[in-house]
Symmetry: C2
Subunit: 423 residues, 2 copies
């Protein structure tokens, strides 16, 4: 095990018991404050460590880094240094922050380098070049297929042979906290002959996890399942907001478009694959066997608890779903190998989302479409109101963490409040 | 009519009779030479005008421009100045290059500013942030629907109510001249129970025209059909290479993915909407009437002749299709209005492709899928060989131009040679 993952390691920065950000995590993000332009930071406890300040003052000199690489408003240039360099920086920080290390702990820079989390605004960590959404949860695909096609043949013939995916919109991916405007569009209620123009009446979330890339392959080359994880910097939580009524009318024959591209929300911290190393877990058995280019060795799923909450305008949060990233039928290494087997080129800062992560039981479904079974089974919130889909002024929150041996590696939250459509 | 479009206007630069690039065109691109790093240029006759040199030496001083805006390897920053500023630069160049103007004509800079086209390499003109492909030719959608679904109900119910579109892959868009590797992937021939892994046996082109944006709307806002053209810098030719066998197996339910994202090719020059102004033409009648947000005033289609050629390894070019951009059922203003009606945000440097442009007759179909009717009707090339789909070492070339009153506004070529799959 990497020393930075040692469950006994402690930091001189105080870390509250249920914090997402112990010294074993150290996820990367971009933050700003009222008097600090956007720079790169790392989360620990209730602080953000200002990496630009640390680099400027020599605390990272043990790692060979381009000048001012943490002063930029996106992490892309840092990520482009690759998985190994990202690991070196995280190791260096882990040493700098460990309880026994006095260098920063007892230095005047400490007060500047550690910024209280409540003073910062987290912004988009990467300039996302390309965004792909997979569809890799068998339970989700089965649920959707049962609802809209045939329960007996819910999975389409290709589903167990390849990780189905499609391209999404990069421009409208926003960071947690950004309000989301209810989209308008064409919908066709069953009782009318022609479509009408209306605010979506079936605004939904999708519970997903996404990975962000730190490597590239040349156009025409491929990435193998063995090499795939070297291309992955880390993970974020992802809400693929969806307007089900717009989707149902528009999606044939080329897939979802305006039903998805009005917004997607990510959590602000890139949790490195290195930090998640202790949480590997076997994925589901793949039967029928996959084609050779999709075979893999090792353990490629990750045990990450996921939970979804709705916070109504006046009321408290209600947990509406508990799922887990481990349910993915297709793992990330397979997704990248498939994505590139035709020579498609991955770029640094791309985002690849899992698709809705539904578990085997109704309480673990990853969308309101499934939780309410397309409106047939309303959910009751703690304030006594009910939901089939999202109301205006609802805030949808996704949280996630892995936990083992007393160490909790979390993501922070992925949240967005629904605003009413423009008049 | 803008003076820069006057058919009587002549340049002191010699322009051969069938040139795509008279003084009425002046399209923008990025070029490099053996001793010049990438900079912006404009085509005229058989020369590229070096805009970086012109700016450095004061020839563009009548236009207020950011310093070194033409020294960058992409046009994005220039395009971000907006439609009006792009027009001012084109007008300024039109004046500088007109026969009567001696300023550059008789200046020592002339020899440096005018680079012979055969000495330059054209590279990607923009860093494409987002790429959307529409499906806006009724004839194409009808042909595909007839082949794969039901000839009597070839168009799906939504097709005449909205411009169907989907997101494509930005990273793999390449400039003319870039070879394209035949993709491998999963295909499922009808005679086998499970998919096999194979080089595509049905590699195809798609004849398209794409527009590139020079404006942005905030996330949550929309662009109207009236405002849409202010967001469009200009057009390029576009080949949406497609692997039909991979597509047929993978595309349900979320649309094409690996069958498309291995490569798309654009022509190198952004032909401005201003240069195409004289070529507006009424589009097809839209029946049933469209929803109010898709209505428009004015003439929004463009009469642009398109032609497709196959050049086999040993042989001459054979023309295999003649089509026209005017056939589009949905125009660009409608496409942008639809794309943003849900609040989706357009960015500078996005690319929006028309979808395959097929005309009403078999000789005007915009793909081999249609021209060979999915392999049933092979085409014969001038060397006597036949094609249902593309062979290795075939070069596929798209050319296009508008013509009126003796003025020909062309695009240059959009070409790519098919390389055999990697072993």
């Amino acid at each position: 095990m990497l020393s930075s993952n040692d469950p006994n390691r402690k930091s001189w920065v105080e870390v509250p018991p249920l914090s997402d950000f112990p010294i074993q995590n150290l996820p990367f993000g971009i933050f700003k404050t009222s008097n600090r332009s956007p720079v790169a930071g790392v989360a620990i406890g209730e602080y953000v460590v200002d990496l630009a300040h640390l680099q400027d003052h020599g605390f990272l000199d043990s790692v060979d880094l381009p000048n001012k690489v943490f002063h930029q408003k996106y992490l892309n240039d840092f990520l482009s240094l690759g998985r190994k360099k990202i690991r070196e920086v995280r190791e260096c920080l882990s040493n700098l922050l460990k309880a026994e290390n006095h260098i920063l702990r007892d230095h005047a820079s400490r007060k500047i380098a550690l910024v209280p989390m409540h003073d910062v605004e987290m912004i988009m960590p990467v300039r996302i070049g390309n965004y792909t959404d997979f569809y890799s949860s068998e339970e989700h695909a089965t649920n959707v297929g049962s609802m809209f096609r045939d329960p007996k043949n819910a999975l389409l013939p290709n589903w167990k042979h390849l990780p189905v995916g499609y391209h999404g919109r990069a421009s409208s991916i926003v960071v947690t906290g950004t309000p989301v405007r209810r989209p308008k569009g064409q919908i066709k209620p069953p009782d009318v002959a022609s479509p009408i123009f209306s605010p979506s009446r079936k605004l939904d979330f999708e519970l997903e996890v996404a990975f962000i890339t730190c490597g590239e392959n040349a156009l025409g080359d491929r990435v193998t399942t063995e090499g795939a994880e070297d291309m992955i910097a880390g993970l974020v939580l992802f809400n693929d907001w969806s307007a089900r009524d717009i989707q149902q009318w528009e999606y044939v024959p080329l897939g979802p478009f305006l039903s998805k591209n009005f917004a997607s929300t990510i959590s602000p911290w890139i949790v490195t694959l290195d930090a998640l190393e202790p949480f590997r877990v076997e994925g589901p058995t793949q039967d029928p066997p996959v084609l050779p280019y999709l075979t893999f060795t090792g353990i490629r799923n990750f045990d990450i608890h996921l939970e979804v909450f709705v916070l109504p305008k006046a009321g408290k949060e209600t947990s509406i779903s508990k799922s887990n990233f481990k349910y993915m039928y297709w793992n990330m290494a397979q997704q990248l190998a498939h994505h590139t087997v035709n020579g498609c080129n991955i770029q640094v800062g791309d985002l690849y989302a899992s698709g809705t992560i539904s578990g085997p039981t109704p309480g673990s479904y990853g969308s309101l479409l499934e939780l309410s079974w397309n409106g047939e089974k309303p959910l009751t919130l703690s304030d006594g109101t009910s939901r089939t889909f999202l109301h205006d002024n609802d805030t949808l929150i996704i949280r996630g963490h892995a936990e083992k041996n007393g160490v909790r590696i979390g993501f922070g939250s992925c949240s967005g409040k629904v605003l009413a459509s423009h008049e």
